[in-house]
């Protein structure tokens, strides 16, 4: 959890449901710092990629209006218990993080 990415994947009826949440402030750039009154610059995840055993199965292009600590879930056909789901993101400041977990 050091990278703040949580992954939960489950197979049922030949489909895998992947649920993820990624720790990130998702600043819109419209909010003001209450102490200084200055605008807090935008800081948000732009692209999150989701891979199943090394193959991209979903790509999320996010804007700053996605909630703080973005939650994304999707479904793909196939997948087996023990397969690897990898999540990696990059934000508008060029920072990135990734994590992987097995399908349960």
């Amino acid at each position: 959890m050091a990278n703040g990415i949580l992954i939960r994947s489950k197979v049922s009826g030949g489909e895998t449901l992947v649920r993820t949440s990624m720790k990130h402030p998702m600043e819109t750039g419209l909010r003001k710092d209450q102490k200084t009154g200055k605008k807090i610059p935008p800081h948000f995840i732009q692209v999150a990629k989701f891979e199943h055993n090394g193959k991209v199965v979903f790509t999320a292009n996010l804007g700053p209006a996605v909630s703080k600590n973005p939650y994304v879930s999707f479904k793909f056909k196939g997948g087996n218990k023990g397969d690897t789901i990898k999540v990696s993101w990059v934000d508008n400041k060029g920072k990135s993080a990734s994590n992987e977990d097995k399908i349960r």
């Binding site: 610059p41 479904k75 400041k93």
Partner: protein, 154 residues
């Protein structure tokens, strides 16, 4: 006093330059597809046009939006889009009355279902629009979500 202002100005300018150069360091391969002009658009039609090159969409009952009638926490409104079509290529979520309506764009390769669930911020009561590309055509659906307490804060 003036000198102080000048210093402040240069410092701020410096910060912008640093931010810009940091932006340039983002691997272009990762961000190549991020539809900046759609995200920057201030109107729904401009956003759709920036993304798809057209604003003509077909309203479809096969595009289902699951969202609350009334959002109690406007900073976290759960939106689920479920598309009962094969070959869905992408799903976009647009919040009509947000300052920048285009909220998220999901790319769906073959083998992945036309389904996504996420949480979005809503500035005020608004239609939530799901824009779906399937078989090269654009489909849409919309649903109104009432926001009782305003604020796009986090």
């Amino acid at each position: 006093m003036k000198r102080r202002l000048f210093l402040k100005g240069t410092l701020a300018g410096g910060a912008i330059a640093v931010a810009a150069s940091a932006g340039l360091l983002i691997p272009t391969t990762v961000l190549a597809a991020w539809p900046k002009s759609a995200f920057d658009a201030k109107k729904v039609d401009d956003a759709i046009n920036a993304l798809a090159g057209t604003t003509s969409t077909t309203s479809s009952g096969k595009v289902k939006i699951n969202a609350p009638e009334i959002a109690e926490v406007s900073a976290e409104v759960r939106i689920t889009v479920d598309v009962e079509m094969d070959n869905v290529e992408s799903i976009s979520i647009i919040v009509e009355n947000n300052p920048s309506p285009f909220t998220a764009h999901f790319e769906i390769p073959a083998g992945t279902l036309g389904y996504v669930s996420t949480r979005v911020k809503m500035a005020k009561t608004s239609n939530v629009i799901a824009l779906v590309k399937s078989g090269g055509k654009l489909y849409s659906a919309q649903k109104e979500v009432k926001v009782t307490v305003g604020g796009c804060g986090g």
